[in-house]
Symmetry: C2
Subunit: 413 residues, 2 copies
Amino acid sequence: MEFLFNMRKVAIIGVGHTKFGVLKEKDLLDLLCDASLEALEDSNTTEKEFDSVYVGAMCPGEFNHVSGISSALVDRISLLPAASDRIENGPASGGSAIKAGFQAIASGMSELVLVVGGEKMTHIDIPGFITSIVATITHSEAERIHGVSLPSFGGLLTRAYLEKYNAKLEWISDIAIKNHKNGTLNPNAHFQRSIEDFMKSAIKKGKGDWQSVYEFLEDDKVNPIIADPLRLFHICPISDGAAALVLCNAETAKRYCDTPVIISGIGQATDTHIIYEREEMTELKALKIASSQAYRMAKKSPDDIDVCELHDAFEILEAVQSEDMGFFEKGEGAKAAHEGLTEIGGKIPVNPSGGLKARGHPLGATGIAQVVELFWQLRGEAGKRQVEGAETGITCNFGGFGNNILSILVERI
Amino acid sequence: MEFLFNMRKVAIIGVGHTKFGVLKEKDLLDLLCDASLEALEDSNTTEKEFDSVYVGAMCPGEFNHVSGISSALVDRISLLPAASDRIENGPASGGSAIKAGFQAIASGMSELVLVVGGEKMTHIDIPGFITSIVATITHSEAERIHGVSLPSFGGLLTRAYLEKYNAKLEWISDIAIKNHKNGTLNPNAHFQRSIEDFMKSAIKKGKGDWQSVYEFLEDDKVNPIIADPLRLFHICPISDGAAALVLCNAETAKRYCDTPVIISGIGQATDTHIIYEREEMTELKALKIASSQAYRMAKKSPDDIDVCELHDAFEILEAVQSEDMGFFEKGEGAKAAHEGLTEIGGKIPVNPSGGLKARGHPLGATGIAQVVELFWQLRGEAGKRQVEGAETGITCNFGGFGNNILSILVERI
C-alpha cells in the first residue's frame, strides 16, 4: 500500500469516556449518548454542525435487539442531519470506526466527525450466551463447531508461547498485576482494585491465606482455570461502556481546542480466518503489517513511542503484541513485563489505563477508549497514571482472534 | 457541509451480481464470495493487491450467526492482508459501504478497494422472524413496542399520500406493474414474471377470472392486504443475494478497464428516528438533503439524470422518492408513473432493473446492486432493459424508515 503523503491531516479535539463496568441503569444508546455528549462538550462543538457520525459496536443486534443505532444516536443527541453509519469489525469495531472517521475527513467529505463506540452486555443472564455470540467471529466449520471459543484460543496461545520461549506463567500474571495496579489509578476503569487488594479482601473474608500474590493466583478456589493455563485473573471481564472522539480537519483544530492531538498513522491488516492455517501461532502477522503501516505513515519507529495501549483481552496478548509492534524481541515480551519495563515509568509503558484487563472490555468501545487514553496521556491529563513527557502513542486493537488488527499512532503537535 | 472539490476522483472498474431470489444452496459468505470474484474478474484485478474491502450487510449476526464476516471474506477470496470492515446502516448498508470505499480512495489511504454487500434470509422458517428483526431499526419505545413494523409504515405512508394528493392506489399498482415488467428483462431479478403473467397463470390454475390486471390486484385471495392499503404485490420480497463493485483511484482506472464509471456525487443524511416527529410524513427530508449533496458535489441537477434506481421496498416509496429527488413536483410522482414517465424510454426511467419489487431486496446488497445496474446502464451493457444513451444516473438507498438515506450519482467518462 502506498499512502498519499499529502493527504489532509486529522486531529482529535475532544474525547468522552463513560465509566466501564456493570452499568445497570443504562442501555446501549444511553451509553453512546453519554460518551458522545461528553466529547462534544470537551471539544467545544456542542453548537456545531457535524458532517458524519461513526459508531463502533460489535453485536448490538444480538445483545440489545437494535439495528441502525448510529441513526438513532444522531437524532438523540441532536446532530441531525449528519450522515451516520455503524462499523463492525468484531472487538476491533472501535478502531475501525476511528479509521472510518479519519477517512471521512482526510477525503474532504467531512470537516467535523464524531466517532463513538460502545457495548452493553452485562444485562444478559443466559450462561454462556455472550461467549457464544463473541465466538461467531471464529471459523464456523473449522473452529466453532468443535466448541472452540475465544478464551480457549487464549489458553492455546499461552501454552504455545510458554513452551516455545521457555517463559513462565508468572510473567503473564505480572501483566495482570500491572494492569490491575494501573486500573486503580483510572477512575473510569471497571476494576478499581489491585490483585493484592483482592487477595487481602479474600484473606479478611476467611477464604484462605496466601504468602504472595502469585500463590493467591494459583489457588483454584479464588482464581479458577478458565482455559488452561489461563485463570480468571488472566482474562478481561465482560463490561458495559462507551468512549468517543471528536475529529476535525487539523487545519481548523485550533479553533476548537488549544492542544489537539494528531492521528498521524493508521494501519489495518487481516490474517487467515482459521488459526491453524497460520505459520506460527505465537506471531501476529496482521499486527506486524498494521503497525508497520502506521509507523510508515507517521514516519516513526517503535523507538519514538512513549506510551501504548494494547489489546490484552487475555494477558498473553499484551506480551505477544508488545513484541510484534517492535518494542521487544520475539519471546521477550512476557519477560519484559516481569522485569517492569512496561510499567508506568518503565522503558515503554503499556496500558497505563489498566488495559482490557482492568479498564474493562465493552467490545466496540475498546479501540476508541485506547485512543482516548492516549489523548489524555499526550496532553498531560492522565492524572495519577500520567506517563511523564509522553508525546507519541500507539494502539493495537484486535479483531477476531488476530485476523483483523488495527494500529493507530497519535502525536501531540 | 462544504466539499473539498479537488478531492481524488473515484472510479468503478468492474462489478459482480449474483442472482437474487431464494438461493437454497448458498450461505451468506458463499454469496459475498460469488459477487466479489465476479467483480474481480470483471475489473481484471484477480491478481492485484487490494488495500481495503468493505462489506455492507444488515443482520448477519441475527440471520446467519456470524460476525467479523468482512475478515472471513478477505481470507476466503485470497485478498489477505487487505484491511476490511463491515458497514451497517439498516437496508442502506450497501450504499454506506460504497461511501466507505469511496472515502478510502478519496482520502489516499487506498488505491484499490472491493465493496460488496449481501444478505441471506430465506432459510429462516420462523414466521415473522425476519420482519421482527428488520423492525429493530424502528424506535423501540415509540414504535416497535406497539407492534409497528416496516410494512405498517409503508401502509401508513401510502394512505397519507393517497389522501393528501388525491392519488389513486391504482397508480401505486402501476409502479409494481412497471417494475415486474422490467424484472422480466433482468436475468438476475428475483421475479422473472410480469404481474400479467402471474394473472394468466392463476387463471390457468382456476383460481379466478379477472378482466384486467387491476382487478386481479384487488382480489384478496391472490393479492391479500399486508398493511392496508398495501397488498402483497405492492411490497418487495425477502431475497438472498449479493452484489459487488471494484473501486480505484480514477487516475489509474484505464489500466484496468476501457470504460470506467465515475462516482461523482455522494450524499447522506439522517432524519428523526420517530416518524411521528417529522413535520410531514409524505416528504423525505433526509432524501432531499442527501440528493442535493450528491447533485452539488457532482455539479449536476435532476435534469441531467438519464436513469435512476430507487428504493421501492414498498411501491409508494418510489413515487415519493421520485419527487424528493427533484424529478417531479410533490404529489405528482405516482401520477407520473401511471402516465408512463418512469418507464424505460420515458422521461426519467426509474428502476429499469426491476427495483426492490422485482429484482428483490437482500438488504445489504441493495444499495450496491443499484449502482451495479447504473454501471451497466452507463456502459450500454443492460441488454433488453437498456436506457438508450444513458450517461448519468443516481440512486436512493433507504435506511430505517427514511431516517438515514444515501444518494449516489455516477457518470460515464
